[in-house]
Amino acid sequence: MALAMFTIIGPLYMTLMIAVKDPSQMDSILSWPTSFHWSNFSDAWKLTNYPEKFKNTFIITGINLIFTIFTNSLAAYAITRKRSHSKFFNALYYYFISAMFIPFNVIMLPLVKQASMFNLDNLAGITFLYIIFGLPMNTFLYTGFIKKIPVAMDEAAEMDGASPLQVFWYVIFPMLKPVHATVAILSFMWTWNDFLMPLIFLSKPEQQTLQLSQYIFQGQFSTQYNLAFASYLLVILPVLLIYIFFQKWIIAGVTDGAVK
């Protein structure tokens, strides 16, 4: 247990140590720094244009979360309720679920051609694609949960004069909180940490995400380890903070998502 613990803390400790040293202190990598070079962080901040990349990543992730939760839960609700008496919706259900078997790498070649045709090789486009591509997994998660909500709930609200959309919005949507959390966490981790999609869609420097900027940064400054590691920490930090605050929900949410 302790050994396993060390293998997790060790690399993170090393990352921190390298990030706060200057090159002259690098002769023993793991030692405590003789002086702290906080300027590594401000240099990395400037060199990678951190605020811009953070803003891009934040916008992609934020808009993706909001749209995913609203559109995917509504779509999954309609599918769950209608598939028992509609062949069309039943077919849609299997259509979405079976798409889970298609890995992104398999469609990426034609997708890049298509994206440039539709003018989607930019921030707005990639956000849109994230929302679309999350659909199979999220439909799976939402339908599993909605199935367990008795139809009597819907019927009672309809008796009170609610339209189907009102039923969803006032009755069903609030009840989906646990799945919303799971979907939000999984979508957050996917979009924040994704590297492949930004790599193939975002060519303009001002549209790059944090992950992509690290890749480019690595190529340009491959020997300036202290700067590079300060930069990694800057990228990891937002995720770490979120993890520290929401750790309990994150672990529960991911487990729920996987085990269902």
Binding site: A4, I8, F101, P103, N105, M108, L109, V239
Partner: protein, 277 residues
């Protein structure tokens, strides 16, 4: 609402998929003219050293990583499930790697293999550790280590949630019957965990067959082409190598491989689940 969403999904997900299949029967380079070549791309794959190497590497890597992740994950989960101090804190730390981006983890471990391990190897006089493993024929081992390091978090968590569904009374009953230690594990814990084993096997195998980020960050497919995974090959040769159609055929094969492996795993493991239950 559902219909527009379905249409968008069809346009941006299903059509590219179908296009990929379509192009796999042509000789398109990604630009210029093209014509149909039938199954030529598929037949050519069997004689292509690049493709065969990438499949060989990806399978070797995926099989070994899947086994390691599941074996270590299972033991870690059992350890974490025991009545130990700081259990919640430990769980939180173990799950941390799963939250971090694979690319950055790859960069960090790249440094560890390039500098820290050799420094230790030279200091301790161990010759095998005194060189950067990523520059040798064992580079694939480095990638396995990083992948296992990151994926363990998820696997362990799933096994842990499985263990928490196991009724403790069963153990007491078995204890009274004189079972202990490994017998308990083999006869009770493992069978009860069967569904969780299935999930982990399928998800990890599928994920590892797609490996991309960590390889880009650590070896970029090298040295030579020894750690070029299928995904990396499709990316490199498909976008910049003028092999659009040919790598589309490779994508279709990768898709089939993933589907077949997932279905076979599900079948075998579910049958086993049924036998044990």
């Amino acid at each position: 609402m559902v219909v527009p969403v379905a249409i968008l999904f069809f346009i941006f997900h299903t059509i590219p998929f179908l296009q990929g299949i379509f192009y796999s029967f042509t000789n398109w380079r990604g630009y210029g003219d093209w014509e149909f070549v039938g199954l030529k791309n598929y037949l050519h794959m069997f004689q292509d050293a690049d493709i065969l190497n990438s499949y060989l590497f990806t399978f070797k890597f995926a099989i070994i990583s899947t086994i390691l992740v599941n074996v270590i994950g299972l033991f870690l989960a059992i350890g974490l499930n025991a009545k130990i101090k700081f259990q919640r804190f430990l769980k939180a730390v173990y799950f941390l790697p799963y939250m971090l981006g694979t690319l950055i983890i790859g960069f960090i471990f790249n440094f560890i293999f390039a500098h820290l391990v050799p420094e230790f190897g030279i200091g301790a006089g161990i010759e095998a550790l005194s060189v950067n493993i990523l520059g040798t024929e064992y580079a694939w081992l480095g990638i396995v280590i990083v992948t296992v390091w990151q994926s363990l978090a998820f696997t362990t968590l799933i096994y842990l949630s499985g263990l928490q569904t196991v009724d403790q009374d069963i153990y007491e009953a078995a204890d009274l019957d004189g079972a202990s230690g490994f017998t308990l594990f083999r006869k009770i814990t493992f069978p009860l965990l069967a569904p969780f084993f299935t999930i982990n096997m399928v998800l990890s195998a599928k994920g590892f067959l797609m490996a991309f980020d960590q390889i880009v960050a650590m070896t970029n497919g090298g040295p030579g082409t020894s750690t070029t995974s299928i995904s990396l090959l499709i990316y490199k040769k498909g976008f910049t190598g003028g092999q659009f159609a040919y790598q589309s055929a490779n994508s279709v094969v990768l898709f089939l491989v993933v589907v077949i492996i997932s279905i076979v795993q599900l079948r075998i493991l579910e049958k086993r689940e049924a036998n044990m239950g």
